[in-house]
Assembly symmetry: C2
Homo-oligomer: 468 residues x 2
């Protein structure tokens, strides 16, 4: 936070801004400490930083007016969604206005013919899927937590289904964005593809509120598959599991999820979920297909690949109840890890590499983890080369936090050395800024050029992503 | 071409630039009229415009040096690939240097494990697929013609397989780009996904050489499907054909191609290819799947959907020979149209709309076509909502060209009114610039802001995409 150029509002300017916000939004403007505290952090260990004022926007036009107030009084603005950030994205490191967008939570349009929806940014994926319940459609991008779709677009989020359905990069068709000076723009159209100009949609997706504030999203949804099957099996090594993943994808199997869990994670799950899985590297699969026969064929084929690589105890499940039981165990991974150490908290890392380099990258990471002075588990969306460690630390113990951060840094650097990225899906916030020079080299300056061009006053989530 | 702010090189500066280019590249610099003429146009009717000098780059570093010469002497630069542009992208409307990149045609790396390749920009898709022949991999994006992959990325090209494999937007993982001042940057990584900063890869994809010159590309490739089947059938109306497409996609069929041809196009094909298809709106399908049984199931299911919508004469083909015969007819569509009128040339339009609006949009377009004073046929990558008319005009007749352009304009405007885009896959060049204000509104100014930030001298393909 040594950015001396970033805008910090003077007390006088700030007071004027708060007055203007109150006259715009009335009681939806708050300077109460409890509100400011709630908007000072996401779910990570980064030092909280309170905004000076919190306001709750209800319309794009209100967000535009707030940005004009920000411009007039030169006060920073931070967009706030579900508050599930893991890299300090929403912490108001220069104070200013936190715009909470969760009350912009209307689902504006659902089209079963076009397989798309238009929503406000405060809609969560859970809310969207509930609304889609009887339409035969599903929204698939699934980060953990009650994230908002606006926040997910802003961080280019993904999850377990990316191997088949893509990340928010592939999912967002069009956006409404409010710029630093309050201008409202619409990027993209409802057409599935276009060659009509610069891809502003993809520029704002992943820009973490540093270039504009997303106030409406048009998103792809998918038909619910006619048939689903799931499978789980354990492997003699990480390498054999990853080889199975590579061959499964090369075969072109209609796999919708492939999740890797290491032995420590499987042990944690057994203890937490009272299951009895082998304590070994384990893959969880889900296949989506056009008929029961089709998904059964897929599962059988993948079983034969897995067994060639030494897999044991291949179980597969087509009944909803059996699949749910299986995925319940996978979904409990985070809480199972925390339960290894009562009173602990999890520090979650995030890297992504070409899948051919995944096994070595994970093995080196596990070697690090073995020496850690706290429990450490590993899960991965391995179809994409993305994996996470959960460091189960005592939140009161500074030394543990330091060591967890050191290991996270080694993991990020290791991913970069393998042609990968320092963050597959969590984003930069300010936690990952230190790796961007190593990842992007001279391209980082181009990012700064774009930031300067679109936010010359540096009022949009200053101190995040790139320093100008 | 009324852009008075664009850089036009003075004679003295130009002479100095040519001298510098000759000392850099020797005989790979040419001011010969035949070379300049060849680099003055793509394959469209836009008025040719010759560059002052043509040079053939062999390395990224050479492109960087050329850009430094461009900067020093303030001479425009236009990147030139396969010369297949349909919207005047490569015409040197302010003269300057045409950098021909076709001799940068090495395939640098193929990874079957990661399903990706790295290539130089002058590699064509045909060359890449030939090189992939024995690897079990395929590159799928297939615009017509011998386009280069650099040019395809620069125009965000797509083709018949987009419904399953995406456009160049989804296909490009990483780029090497030379900027206006000669800086070389690398965007993206080989990781499948990343949340590490602004998506510069997607910014340069589709930027048509106006922000930087692509000198290396990392691209996704796909495993060849285990089984393929194809099918063709004719419909009582455009609407019934489009409804069949919508339901096919909603069903989640593993369809890799769905092509619509109107009755005029089918008539042209019958005459040209000596086939005997009904003269009616017709769909060609291709299914990619994991087994013969799987693709047969798909084809049978789609047959039942089609027949519900009144389709007749459903033929399906799983044998390679039969499939080839079927697709040969589809691929001959353009030449079949031209053969309707010996000595003619084709003016090809391009629009894309939400698929729910496709039938009405095509029907209105066909109503226009019926009054045209020349043959007009229609083909569409209808799984994406993308369609083209081929206006078969006499190239000597100005009135026909004017009328064809008027009809093309009506089609673009019609697409915009339906929430679509004025170009699905051909790009803007200078042919489609006139529609960008209507399509993007205030977002167009953001494109100008980005252009100004990255190319402040306006030397990179000036007079295209956006005017600054």
């Amino acid at each position: 936070m040594q950015n001396t150029q970033a805008t910090s509002a003077s007390a006088a300017r700030l007071d004027s801004a708060v007055e203007a916000l109150k006259s715009l939004l009335g009681q939806r403007t708050s300077t109460a400490e409890v509100q400011r505290e709630h908007h000072s952090h996401g779910e990570s260990y980064h030092t909280p930083a309170m905004p000076d004022v919190v306001c709750y926007a209800h319309t794009t036009e209100e967000v535009s007016e707030i940005m004009k107030i920000s411009a007039k009084y030169q006060v920073p603005v931070i967009a706030f969604g579900g508050g599930t950030s893991l890299e300090g994205h929403v912490n108001a490191v220069y104070g200013g206005i936190s715009i909470d967008l969760r009350e912009m939570n209307k689902i504006l349009r659902v089209s079963a013919e076009d397989l798309d929806v238009t929503v406000e940014p405060g809609v969560t994926r859970q809310q969207l899927n509930k609304a889609l319940n009887n339409t035969g459609l599903t929204f698939y991008v699934d980060p953990g937590g009650e994230s908002t779709l606006g926040g997910m677009a802003a961080t280019r989020a993904s999850g377990t289904t990316t191997v088949r359905y893509g990340t928010m990069r592939e999912t967002v068709l069009a956006l409404t964005v409010v710029l630093a000076d309050g201008r409202i723009i619409h990027t993209g159209t409802r057409a599935r593809k276009s060659s009509a100009g610069y891809d502003l949609t993809r520029l704002f997706v992943g820009s973490e509120g540093t270039l504009g504030i997303i106030t409406e999203l048009t998103l792809r949804v998918y038909p619910q598959p006619e048939a689903v099957s799931a499978a789980v099996c354990s492997f003699p090594s990480i390498e054999s599991a990853v080889k199975t993943v590579i061959e499964t994808i090369q075969f072109g199997a209609s796999v919708a999820r492939i999740e890797l869990l290491d032995d420590a994670q499987m042990d944690a799950i057994n203890r937490y979920s009272k299951t009895n899985y082998p304590i070994a590297p384990t893959l969880f699969f889900e296949f989506h297909g056009s008929s029961d026969r089709h998904v059964t064929e897929q599962a059988e084929f993948v079983q034969s690949i897995a067994e060639e690589h030494g897999a044991k105890g291949f179980q597969w499940a087509t009944l909803l109840e059996d699949r749910d039981k299986l995925w319940e165990a996978r979904h409990a991974a985070y809480y199972a890890s925390l339960a290894l150490r009562p009173g602990s908290k999890g520090l979650v890392t995030d890297a992504c590499v070409p899948i051919s380099r995944l096994a070595e990258c994970i093995e080196e990471t596990l070697a690090d983890n073995r020496n850690a002075p706290f429990p450490a588990t590993l899960v991965g969306h391995v179809g994409d080369g993305n994996f996470h460690c959960i460091y189960v630390i005592n939140p009161e113990n500074e030394a543990e936090l330091t060591e967890a951060n050191r290991l996270a840094g080694r993991m990020a650097t290791r991913a970069l050395a393998r042609g990968g990225t320092c963050t597959g899906e969590h984003g930069v916030g300010y936690g990952k800024m230190k790796y961007l020079e190593a990842e992007h080299g001279p391209a980082l300056e181009v990012m700064r050029t774009i930031k300067r061009a679109l936010d010359p006053d540096n009022r949009m989530n200053p101190g995040k992503m790139v320093i100008i």
